[in-house]
Amino acid sequence: MLKMRQADMPTSRRAFLKGAAVASATFVLGTFVPFGRFALAEGDAAAPKPVIDPNFFLRIDSDDTVTVLLKHLEMGQGVSTGLSTLVAEELDADWSKMRFDHGPNNPKVFNNLFFGSYIGTGGSTSMANSWTQMRQVGAAARAMFVAAAAKQWNVPAAEITVENSVLKHPSGKSARLGELVEAAMKEPVPQEIKLKEPKDWKYIGQKLPRLDTPGKTTGKAIFALDFRRPNMLVAMVARPPRFGGTAGKVDDAAARKIAGVVDVVQIPSGVAVLAKDTWAAMRGREALTIDWQLDKSEGRSSDEMLAEYRDLAGKPGLKADRRGDAAAALGNASDVHEAEFVFPFLAHAPMEPMNCVIELTKDGAEIWGGSQFQSIDDYAVSQVLGTTPDKIKIHTLLSGGSFGRRANAFADWAVEAAHIAKAIGGKAPVQLVWTREDDIKGGLYRPMVLHKLKAGLKDGRITGWQHAIVAKSILVGTPFEGMMVKDGVDATTVEGVAETPYQIENFAVDVHNAKTEVPVLWWRSVGHSHTAHVMETTMDELAGKAGQDPLAFRLSYLKEGAREAGVLKLAAEKAGWGKEMPAGTGQGIAMHHSFGSYVGMVAEVAAQEGGFKVSRIVAAVDVGIAINPDVIAAQVEGAIGFAMSAILRNRITFKDGVVEQGNFDDYEPTRMKEMPVVEVHLVTSAEPPSGIGEPGLPPLAPAIGNAIFAATGKRFRSLPFQGPISA
């Protein structure tokens, strides 16, 4: 590695070599372009102009290794490969020399451009918000290398070409990036950046090997739970058996007798046991006797909550969407279809349970963890420690899945760790570890949701549609409230029903924000995880009542040339929609638009003893420009594997306020034999890229449910699909 003394560096600039961005980057206030659901509210201070200085984002070594400092968390979605692809494309770097690391929590540089001035990964925005910026970073770096070479060789810059990390001049002169890095970083960052034309792309649109594969197939990749600090203590927290409870009197005498247990401290979320290793912490926690104060806690069972939801659904709610006069149109219908859908609370259950390492510093703290909303995590921890976010240094590490769990407005895991570190006076670094039981029982669930709707039909057409949704709002009372809640309507509760692309003249959506102490959170695809199922099941049922083909019926409600229609048609074509199916088997179709992307699916299922088997899913995907088609296919395959568990069996239920599930035996994810064969087909597009971490999930349940109906005549509405089927 090329070494450079600090004194040699230009004073106002970082070096490629070290890349360690600090808060002195110049940034210009510009106009923030709002995007989708995560847009800042109008009138908010304009977000910073994207930083494109390669000194912040790239570390280039003398051996030509290019390390991209990610502004987004790699949690399996392939963002390390995606962001690096954009840089490598414009830098003309050799792909085999690309590496990645997570960037520091400096919001002036590593902010998500769709979140304004905050760092965060979510809403399937990573590639979309970085699309121009990261290509500009690569292009700026390339121009700086070319300028440096031009000076050294005394030739015009325009005559220099770059290919596979090698700069060349027709005179025969050539140099590798690694040889020129020192000179290149002294060049000014170009003001005008010209990006390649799509016809010149070498990497974008190709299947490039993932950069995170080698470490993850050899056990060498370091996840947050693998991180160690000298003299680190492991902490486990005993939390109240019901949400809203608190710890009263604690008897820790037995816990302190366990070999390896070092301390027991009370914190707001419960009682923490600190020990020399995880096993001792586990046993220490088991030995605690705690008098839980449950007066203000949620003591209801799921059925009681649902009864309240049903009661609310019958009353007028907050208006989420209004078109025409739905009530009058229902009055004119010859047939009124009524349906109720219930969706349970769901845990995210990422394979790596919540954890992080925290070490107090003289004026703040350092945290090592799978941080997904660094700008919330550093702020929340700074509040616990009585300091400011700039004093909290977050080292983002690979995360073993998230599905939304690590991105939360409460920064629960980081805050809990901060309280523990504070309670022991910072005497040792602390690794907070949640067990699987802590995770499954720990809340921040996809909300339980009730949908009730009426849709009127006359002469084979929908006359009107009245829809009520009841759920606890994810965002009310959080820092996101101002961004995404309007007049009490939480966009994440109604998205996918409100503003449906189906051209239904008379359409009314009401929402009720139910109250419970059970903490809720976005779960892969957020509101779309339930709304798509309701819309696409209902469209299927209405097509049946109208005596029409489910595909043709849907298309008749979509605008000519709509991208929704494109994915429906492509999925149907690739799956052989309408083909003869053997008895007891069937096809089902569904489509959904979420996070800027469009996914259509055809499912094939077979009835079998005790239920059904999903044999094949054909997915058609429109994400605009496909940066890496193989990563996109993987995300759709993965969304299907993830969602199957919620279709087959997963639910979090309460009995007298206590969560009834606890581990993978009673909250069992999809297993190998349940995974259908998945085919992913991409719509060719020149639109800017949109996300794919989430959009593969929403159409799955309705496609399967519709296929089960086609196969057996049994209609499942509520999830999971459980109950008898007879073919």
Partner: protein, 151 residues
């Protein structure tokens, strides 16, 4: 004092015989390639080989594996292991990657027993390993690919 043979090397450890092998590996020996997923032998993230067979290290007391040959992802060697890791890389199986050490350990054990596993063999052999990212389709393809390369 307990002596464990891990990846061909003896380790003298001052631990209780009831301590799960997983925590000895991770917390005492800093061999973190073996993962904690559920703690109750339901997910397979902690899979290691004990005398060549798959074992859930979270539910294996170290006192029970004294004298056995323990292999972790860090100590993989041999042509089956190489074929499996190569296939995993070729097909870009991983997503978050947290379960993949365990998946790879189970796949190696499966291919060591059955040279050319059918889909049904893979269903059975990989039943105990959960992947929350849903990479099952690629795991299946990679096992077939590894079997082909070994043939």
């Amino acid at each position: 004092m307990i002596t464990l043979n891990i990846n061909g090397q003896n380790h003298d450890l001052d631990v209780e015989p009831e301590m799960p092998l997983l925590w000895v590996l991770r917390d005492r020996l800093n061999m973190t390639g073996t993962k904690f997923g559920c703690g109750v032998a339901q997910c397979g993230a902690c899979t290691v080989h004990v005398d060549g067979e798959s074992r859930r290290s979270c539910s294996t007391m170290v006192g029970d594996v004294v004298g056995s040959e323990i292999t972790t992802i860090e100590g993989l060697d041999g042509k089956v292991a190489k074929a499996v890791q190569t296939a995993w890389q070729k097909l870009d199986v991983v997503q978050c990657g947290y379960c993949q050490s365990g998946q790879i350990m189970s796949a190696i054990a499966l291919l060591s027993m059955i040279e050319k596993p059918t889909d049904a063999d893979i269903d059975a052999g990989m039943e105990g390993n959960i992947c929350r990212c849903g990479t099952y389709q690629r795991i299946r393809a990679a096992i077939h690919e590894a079997a082909k390369s070994l043939a």
